[in-house]
Symmetry: C2
């Protein structure tokens, strides 16, 4: 059996109508970049929408043309894999506000120059509005499932809650129904790091840089990424992977170079991120996540968010995830129970912290496979 998906199509969709946003503004000329894998069946009922995380993209199972890296969930999506492209028509779209092909702050606005900070502040629900417009264009009335980890899980929750007819099931991994004070705090540190960088120029950095691929506040963005990256890993995982090991040296140097492997690793994470991501997109997407509070959207009662849906739900958390700990998933499960929705829930044991949903956790594969086959 081939390891590559049997069919890959990268496409952009220019939405025919303006997108009405939660902030009250309407966004014209919205473009959605997406990939599909597998074939839509005649009944058009075998589609699975995969929603990506903060810094993700639509290259879920095909090489990312910018980084050259394999698709970010290639281990999960493909022929015979848990999200089986022999059976399902798999769609993954770059979220509104991002920088990988869909409309975001780096896109040109009506005046022909990049929106920058004139881009409207968007919400998770706005991203989902974009996804639903894509489903409309693809002629898909109702998904077999919407699947997402982290911010992808927020989109899956939002789609099931706000467009209850559009999916038969939702699979939410390592996610939350609302950003906590600590979640907001970490994002605010990242935003302040970006906005403190004089190269940010109040967001108007596009075209200003001479020596950088994307230009702009690369140092601030790298710091933001470093801070966020720590939250994606577990303390135990960091200790197992790096401990206090020194980087290519036998002794501490008594200086400020990256003496420790964990320092070198973090610096690399920060620097490599700036090659592929737009700083303003980082501001806008973190803001959307901080604003996310599904209960608040529904009169302050989370169960009310699920009153209209007859979808099946599956919630998965990881025992070492301290960004969106198991208690957050359990909170959603309780609300789904109160709403009478069918839900299964499992906390998986994995050493990788929040990032477990992206990594080699065989029990995750089995749970996803089992849920989607129902």
């Amino acid at each position: 059996m081939a390891t590559a998906p049997i069919k890959t199509t990268t496409t952009v969709l220019d939405l025919p109508d303006p997108l009405s946003l939660d902030c009250g503004r309407s966004l014209e000329n919205v473009r959605i970049a997406y990939e599909t894998y597998g074939e839509l069946n005649a009944a058009r009922d075998n589609a699975i929408f995969i929603a990506h995380a903060l810094t993700g993209d639509h290259y879920v199972a095909s090489p990312n043309p910018i980084t050259g890296k394999p698709g970010w969930w290639l281990r999960m999506v493909g022929p015979g894999k848990p999200i089986d492209t022999d059976r399902f028509f798999v769609i993954c779209a770059n979220v509104l506000g991002s920088c990988m092909g869909s409309t975001g702050p780096a896109s040109s606005g009506p005046d022909g120059v990049p929106y920058a900070m004139d881009f409207p502040v968007i919400t998770i629900r706005d991203m989902v509005r974009g996804h639903v417009a894509l489903l409309d264009a693809l002629g898909i009335e109702r998904l077999h499932s919407v699947v997402g980890g982290s911010m992808g899980g927020m989109q899956a929750l939002s789609l099931a809650a706000n467009f209850p007819d559009r999916t038969a099931s939702a699979l939410i991994i390592a996610s939350t129904a609302r950003h906590s004070a600590q979640n907001i705090a970490f994002h605010e540190v990242g935003r302040q790091a970006i906005m403190a960088d004089p190269e940010w120029r109040e967001g108007n950095y596009y075209g200003h840089s001479e020596n950088a691929k994307k230009g702009g506040p690369e140092k601030g963005l790298a710091v933001a990424r470093m801070a966020a990256h720590i939250t994606y890993l577990s303390e135990t995982g960091l200790t197992e992977k790096f401990g206090r090991n020194l980087q290519d040296r036998a002794e501490k140097t008594f200086g400020f170079d990256a003496d420790f492997q964990v320092e070198s690793y973090l610096r690399h994470q920060g620097l490599s991120f700036t090659d592929r991501f737009d700083a303003n997109s980082y501001l806008y997407i973190t803001r959307a996540m901080d604003y996310f509070d599904l209960a608040e959207e529904h009169g302050g009662i989370l169960a009310s968010a699920f009153a209209q849906t007859d979808a099946r739900f599956c919630l998965i958390s990881f025992d070492t995830d301290w960004l969106y700990p198991t208690a957050e998933s359990r909170n959603i499960v309780h609300a789904l129970n109160a709403a009478g929705a069918p839900v299964s829930f499992v906390e998986l044991s994995a050493p990788f912290g929040h990032d477990s949903f992206l990594l080699d956790v065989p029990s995750l594969d089995r749970v996803i496979d089992g849920f989607l086959k129902q």
Copy 2:
């Protein structure tokens, strides 16, 4: 009874001899700023040395002349308080490398200009060498106790281990015998935030700023403080204190102002910090903490660090402290047990995370009072 300490003396000591450092360099003209409270008795055996934390100072129980705020441990130190100045002669010294009066990177070097990054990289043990030189000058052979929380606990451990004749007991609160990969990672984010700020100027910012109190990389330092501050608080504490409450507004603004109280709070923490702290000192002191590994200093076996001491030990941790969690204290207790040292250990329940050692935790007062009275 008066609430203020009965006797306060602020003094600076210019060390008569150069200080030999772990890096191999020798530092001349070292100045130690310190405060004392209470009276040294005739036997000179009632002295307690309090070691302060990363951004602390020697104003442990007297007003800080820079911020105008009360002493940082006024609730613990004074007449009739757990660290009783009616009974003990209490000493608190600003650590080497800091910026509150003791020699650090902002001090003038031999050439009359600030050391900046020519200041030697120091260690926790180097800080303790400065403390011991102060004890020598004060004619104190042996402390009744050395007491410290967080980085202060590291100094207390280091003093007891490396100068075993100099203290009869050591009280270590919310601390660790070595910085973990996650601890190093958070500090590295802070250092990178400072060094990414163009105002840092490779450390040579002194005298360059026109409109700032201290000048230098204030934005970077504020980001560093924000990131660190999150680690000092518990997730539960943040949720209880701020949750998703909005700051002086009824609705989200769909912008990048501090909509949430936690954002406003963090920004304030960052900005107010730059008024009182030197960015290069932050680099040096975080580096000293990252380098701290008491076992490594003693052949890789933590118990060996305590082979020479006959001091009594008391370890205190907090159940919500995720920066230096209880497991780190327990690790020290096991080593002390292996070394045959007398040790008591308690994990206290408090909602404030790592910062619990500075806050209103009555059970902490009782444990400290009981230990020091023995």
